[in-house]
């Protein structure tokens, strides 16, 4: 789950890291009120789950509460990269002396969280790492032992930061590392971490992302502290009808798993494919041989006939789909005959001839003899493991091209 800035700031605040006295609101009137309470120049920031806010005009400065209200009105109407804001954040305009960067991410190779710190904050950390590697400090933390302040101190000191700045930044990075672990984050970033003219440090912007697998055990933070609704899943794009329907069919039955995606696909060959690795391999194989997949899908874990049928139907119902290819890497758990029955049922229920509609059926493995009998009966072309995933995909592509 990706968090909006106002939520990320709240998470940071809950961890004991200082933040400015910001306010989140959804109307110009509320924005005016918050600006009045702040009582000075403010910044109005669009709350969207996308980058490039500043460039798009989603961040504006105001000298008066009236101006703050006006900016809020404009920003609330402003779409950024296809996203409408959920509100605006009203922040006091900070008197910044220096900007720093602090974050914690996973290092998959070391299998440990990695703390990062830079005294060149406010800009893209990747760029800093490339151009000024001596200005980026790094250090892993244990997954078992408590995070020591000294570990954060070492990382910061490695960038050359010393004096009171070192002592003020140390607990902030250590707290960030602790919240990363405790809240199951996959990204916890404060950028910029600002040193104000009075010498104090505050988190001026924060980016947080929680691992989806851990949401179940982070309910207290998600529901109680942040008030995020159960069904607020924050997809990176608006799911299509196809995607929604497949998800529903999958959820209705616990046996097996089906997944379907069609964002970025708009071909004429429907793919009813699996499992994870097989689907990736097959999608490539179709495209490399000049085929145009209408979708991506995954079948796995021995789904019921109804589920296999449901997926095939949704694929067949998509605009522009002329044929489907039913293909999987060798199965050991999923039963060939069940998938065969499911896809044939889908064709029949939609009034289509399975032999014409199914370009190829290539699923070798468990119960294949039983599956082949059914396919024979309906005149569906099938092949066994002696036909590679590449060749099976090629046959499907050739068939659909022949027709056109």
């Amino acid at each position: 789950m990706i968090f909006y800035e106002y939520e990320a700031r709240k998470i940071v605040e809950l961890a004991g890291i200082p933040v400015t006295k910001y306010g989140f609101c959804q109307t110009p009137e509320e924005a005016r009120k918050i600006a009045e309470e702040i009582g000075g120049p403010t910044v109005i920031k669009s709350q969207v789950l996308t980058g490039g806010r500043m460039k798009a005009g989603g961040v504006k400065f105001a000298d008066t509460p009236d101006e703050a209200a006006q900016h809020a009105e404009d920003i609330l109407k402003l779409e950024i990269n296809g996203h409408m804001p959920v509100g605006v954040l009203v922040d006091p305009k900070a008197e910044v002396k220096q900007e720093y960067y602090a974050s914690v991410v996973w290092d998959g190779t070391a299998k440990k969280p990695l703390m990062l710190f830079s005294d060149m904050g406010g800009i893209d950390i990747e760029q800093v790492a490339e151009e000024h590697p001596d200005h980026v400090g790094r250090g892993h933390i244990s997954n078992l032992l408590p995070v020591g302040d000294y570990e954060a101190k070492q990382v910061i000191a490695a960038t050359g930061v010393t004096g009171s700045q070192l002592n003020r930044a140390t607990p902030i990075l250590a707290k960030l590392a602790r919240l990363f672990r405790e809240n199951d984050m996959i990204l916890a970033e404060i950028n910029p971490l600002a040193e104000l003219t009075d010498g104090t440090f505050v988190a001026l912007d924060a980016h947080m992302e929680m691992e989806s697998e851990a949401e179940g055990r982070q309910k207290k933070l998600l529901r109680k502290e942040l008030g995020i609704a159960e069904d607020d899943n924050r997809d990176p794009y608006v799911p299509s009808e196809f995607e929604k329907n497949v998800k529903e069919i999958d959820a209705a039955d616990h046996r097996g798993v089906i997944q379907g995606k069609d964002h970025g696909f708009e071909g004429n060959l429907g793919l009813v494919i699996g499992a994870g690795g097989g689907s990736l391999t097959l999608t490539d194989a179709v495209r490399s041989q000049g085929g145009k997949p209408a979708n991506y899908s995954e079948i796995g874990g021995n789904p019921s006939v109804a589920k296999a049928c449901g997926l095939a139907k949704e694929v067949l119902k998509k605009d522009g789909v002329e044929k489907i290819a039913v293909m999987m890497s060798i199965v050991s758990n999923t039963r060939v005959d069940i998938v065969a029955r499911g896809v044939i049922k889908a064709c029949l229920e939609l009034g289509k001839d399975p032999g014409e509609t199914i370009a190829i059926f290539r699923i070798p493995g468990a119960w294949e003899d039983e599956g082949n009998k059914i396919l024979d009966h309906y005149g569906v072309e099938y092949c066994d493991r002696s036909v590679s995933l590449w060749d099976a995909a090629g046959r499907a592509v050739a068939k659909i091209q022949e027709q056109n």
Binding site: E126, G278, W390
Partner: protein
């Protein structure tokens, strides 16, 4: 020969009374594996296909009378970390974690604990490993008669991020007469117990293994780690790699699976294109098509 397993390897199944675990136990027994016990809390005294069930790993070890080599862990995600640590704490050195959807923090904790106790974790989110005609630890290859079709003994070590593709590739190696020394489904998660590079020394030490095949996907930097290992270790083993998911490099697919989390650690090495470049520069043969694997192996070993 083999890596990690041999004909004498004993193991237990934690979560043995679950539906999938019951099947998996039968498959392993039918293949000839030595399943010496199972654990499901509260189910002590039962049997699963003749395998005694216990409440704790400690009881299973006590019943066996000597150290048990391995454990297959197939319990719900919320209980996995505890189960793995329980196994390690009872002297088990090889753990296959089948369970999916375990938060990264838990996986990292198990791995750190395993490292402290000289134990090795395979997975999570994997199908285990198999030494053809010797031992099968996990659902890899499916029922014994299906596994026999896909896996014959031979010279190629297989490591794969996809369980199904482990069998697909091994089947093609078997059909080509090359066979498999040991095949490991290493798991598809962002953090796993054993990466390609971490398993390479085992294959390197196995005289029977003459080449390695890896199946790989976008995301993470495990391939970069393998490329580095290969460049640094002057391995006797040629490696053939297949990269799936090249379509994910398309602009329209970006952001669907690539988060910006960790980009500084993972660098720009996440994409299929970058990974292929990197593997090739380390002398690893990257085939374009899945069916080119057996010939590429033959060419590399001069067979």
């Amino acid at each position: 020969m083999s890596i990690l397993l041999n004909k004498d390897t004993t193991f237990i199944v934690q979560g043995i009374t679950g539906r999938e675990a019951v099947n998996l136990t039968k498959e392993c027994l039918d293949y000839g594996s030595k399943v010496v016990g199972g654990v499901t809390p509260g189910r002590k005294g039962r049997e699963v296909h003749g395998v005694p069930v216990f409440d704790t790993v400690e009881q299973a070890v006590e019943n066996h009378g000597s150290q048990i080599d391995g454990s297959i862990v197939t319990v719900p995600p919320g209980f996995t970390k505890d189960a793995v640590i329980e196994a390690i704490d009872n002297g088990i050195k090889l753990i296959v974690v089948v369970t999916e959807r375990i938060p990264r923090g838990d996986v990292a904790e198990m791995v750190e604990f395993a490292n402290m106790h000289d134990a090795r974790i395979i997975g999570p989110n994997c199908l285990g490993l198999i030494v053809p005609e010797v031992c099968k630890m996990g659902g890899i290859g499916g029922p014994a008669k299906d596994a026999a079709k896909s896996y014959s003994p031979g010279v190629v070590g297989v490591m794969s991020r996809s369980g199904g593709m482990t069998t697909e590739i091994s089947s093609s190696l078997t059909a080509a007469g090359l066979g498999v020394s040991t095949a490991v489904s290493i798991g598809g998660d962002a953090i796993i117990g054993s990466s390609y590079a971490e398993l390479m020394p085992y294959f390197e030490a196995d005289e029977e293994t003459r080449a390695i095949v890896i199946y790989t996907e976008p995301g993470g930097r495990m391939e970069a780690q393998l490329a580095d290992w290969q460049a640094e270790n002057n391995s006797r083993l040629p490696i053939v790699a297949f990269m799936a998911g090249k379509f994910m490099d398309d602009e329209s697919m970006k952001g669907m699976t690539f988060g910006h989390a960790g980009t500084i650690v993972e660098g720009k090495e996440d994409s299929a294109t970058e990974k292929i470049k990197r593997l090739e520069s380390a002398g690893i043969t990257v085939v374009e098509r899945i069916d080119e694997i057996p010939d590429a192996v033959k060419e590399r070993i001069g067979a």
